[in-house]
């Protein structure tokens, strides 16, 4: 069966060059990067090279990068340990947005339950955070603002540079979850002006189980996991050297590929978006029309439900995602789709197609051939919109 993978915002395949770079660190150079012997030192050098590669991708110094087990851990560590220190100096107030990934949103809600104060900023219908909304929410005791660089569901890219500058005016630090942007679009921590940034290896053709937290020099965080003195005493646990090497290689490749891949993905996205919107009635693009991730196409269809669309697409080998219904204990669709103002019934009919470097025009044409009849058939089956 034909297989068309359009779920790159969920995860990406490991690039063969990345995988080959990792292999020796499982078998030959297996030392603990903290060990004194030559095996350990070889692993240590590889780890430091990987740190340089990742730092180069985001315009940071290698000393500002901590390897973690993924984006979620980096988000948790950034927010929780920063607030643990900072509430004594600056205050207990945190600001985040309504469309954050749960790794940030649930972490902030966790802190709110522990006695911290939380403001969740609304977004406009494109999923953009308005600078004025942030200005109005900032208080003298606001210690941290955490706003994602780009949204995983609707692809909207936030104006982090402006939002970080506004936060700094009142002395609040700024964290961004850049899991969806690092390796996909140019990300430079100095240009963005952020103090903390999280990223994940498996979104840029690197391995799963490895992430980074960028901590600007002078910004105080602490270890989230307690144990050994790895990662300059900021992340306990034997370092995942093969994972870090993979992330490093993936970062190096991404840096070379971004201009070319962006042009390719923009072309595919525009073809796919116009094909869907012109070919299927009562369909709409979600997220910002221009300021969005180059390979991300998110749409909603009236009168049909997302999981049904996904399973029908899957039967043709097309792999995608939907925000049709929400996480455990709730019957609500995605919090992101509700935050941009979609009614529940529309949000249930969402489809997210996220393309990657290996997708082709042929893949897009295949989706455009299969999707319209699927929607048509599901609508014939639906009691709505008759």
């Amino acid at each position: 069966m034909k297989a068309v993978y359009m779920d790159h915002s969920a995860t990406t395949p490991v690039d063969p060059q990345v995988f080959n770079a990792m292999i020796p660190y499982y078998t030959d150079i297996y030392g603990n990067s903290s060990s004194v012997h030559f095996q350990g030192q070889k692993a240590h050098r590889a780890l430091e090279q990987a740190r340089e590669q990742v730092a180069a991708l985001i315009g940071a110094s290698p000393g500002e990068i901590i390897f973690t087990a993924g984006g979620t851990e980096a988000d948790n560590q950034a927010i929780i340990t920063f607030m643990t220190h900072e509430h004594q100096k600056k205050g207990k107030h945190i600001i985040t947005s309504a469309i954050e990934h749960h790794a940030v949103l649930h972490t902030c809600e966790f802190l709110a339950k522990q006695g911290f104060e939380l403001t969740v900023l609304p977004v406009n219908s494109y999923g953009t955070i308005e600078p004025d909304a942030l200005r109005a929410a900032l208080r003298p005791d606001t210690a941290l603002v955490s706003i994602m660089h780009a949204n995983n569901e609707i692809g909207t890219i936030e104006d982090i540079k402006t939002l970080a500058a506004i936060s700094h005016e009142v002395g609040a630090a700024f964290h961004t979850d850049a899991v969806q942007t690092v390796g996909k679009i140019p990300v430079n921590v100095k240009e963005l002006g952020v103090d903390l940034l999280s990223a994940s290896g498996h979104k840029l053709y690197g391995p799963k189980g490895i992430g980074i937290l960028f901590v600007k020099k002078g910004v105080r965080i602490s270890s989230y996991l307690h144990g050994g003195a790895h990662e300059r005493n900021l992340r306990a646990g034997t370092v995942n050297v093969p994972g870090a090497v993979g992330f490093g290689k993936a970062a190096e490749l991404a840096q070379q590929r971004i201009p070319q891949t962006t042009a390719h993905l923009k072309d595919l996205s525009s073809h796919l978006t116009s094909g869907i919107l012109n070919g299927i009635s009562n369909s709409r693009l979600t997220g910002h029309p221009e300021d969005r991730l180059p390979g991300s196409v998110s749409v909603v269809f009236d009168y049909v439900e997302g999981e049904s669309i996904l399973l029908m697409l899957d039967s043709y080998g097309i792999m995608a995602s939907s925000g049709s219904a929400c996480t455990s204990g709730s019957l609500d669709p995605s919090h992101v789709l509700l935050a941009i103002g979609l009614p529940h019934e529309t949000a249930h009919g969402s489809l997210r197609l996220t393309m990657g470097k290996d997708n082709t025009r042929e893949d897009v044409d295949y989706v455009l051939e299969k999707l319209p009849p699927i929607i048509k058939n599901l609508r014939l089956m639906s009691p709505l919109g008759q």
Partner: protein
């Protein structure tokens, strides 16, 4: 995730549509919850001569609707009334636990249609709407990434 029977009924749903001479109509669920099941029956001499459905919802919602129509076609009203959401799910070789509450309402829709028939006693039918009986559950399709 789903049994082969669920996938079969989802990919090839039986008895989709509406009935011109329907004398019992039932609808449960609501669009906010993401599931609506609409069932129409044509009853003759206490037997369900014909039954058709239209459903807005996930694969479990569509498959249970399809299955319930197959289970009761040709059956007496009394037999049809004995069918429950649970027996529909069992006939499909089970549903994922999370779908048992939120998308397993087909028998409720059928019972609403029968109730509607009995109330109208064969005269022109009007839709009887059941309330959204969903309590807990989730139908998560966005991967946790």
């Amino acid at each position: 995730m789903y049994s082969q029977k669920v996938m079969d009924h989802f990919m090839n749903p039986r008895n989709v549509g509406r009935i011109d001479l329907a004398n019992g109509i039932g609808e449960v669920g609501n669009p906010t919850c993401g599931d609506i099941m609409h069932i129409e029956i044509e009853v003759k001499e206490d037997k369900i001569e014909d039954i058709k459905f239209q459903t807005f919802g996930c694969a479990a919602a569509i498959a249970t609707s399809s299955m319930v129509t197959e289970m009761v076609k040709g059956k007496t009203l009394e037999e049809a009334e004995r069918i429950t959401n649970r027996t529909v799910a069992e006939a499909l070789d089970g549903l994922p636990p999370v779908k048992m509450h939120c998308s397993n309402l087909a028998a409720d829709a059928l019972h609403e249609a029968i109730k509607n028939y009995r109330e109208s006693q064969g005269s022109s039918a009007t839709v009887t709407k059941g309330c959204c009986q969903q309590e807990t559950g989730s139908c998560c399709t966005m991967p946790q990434e």
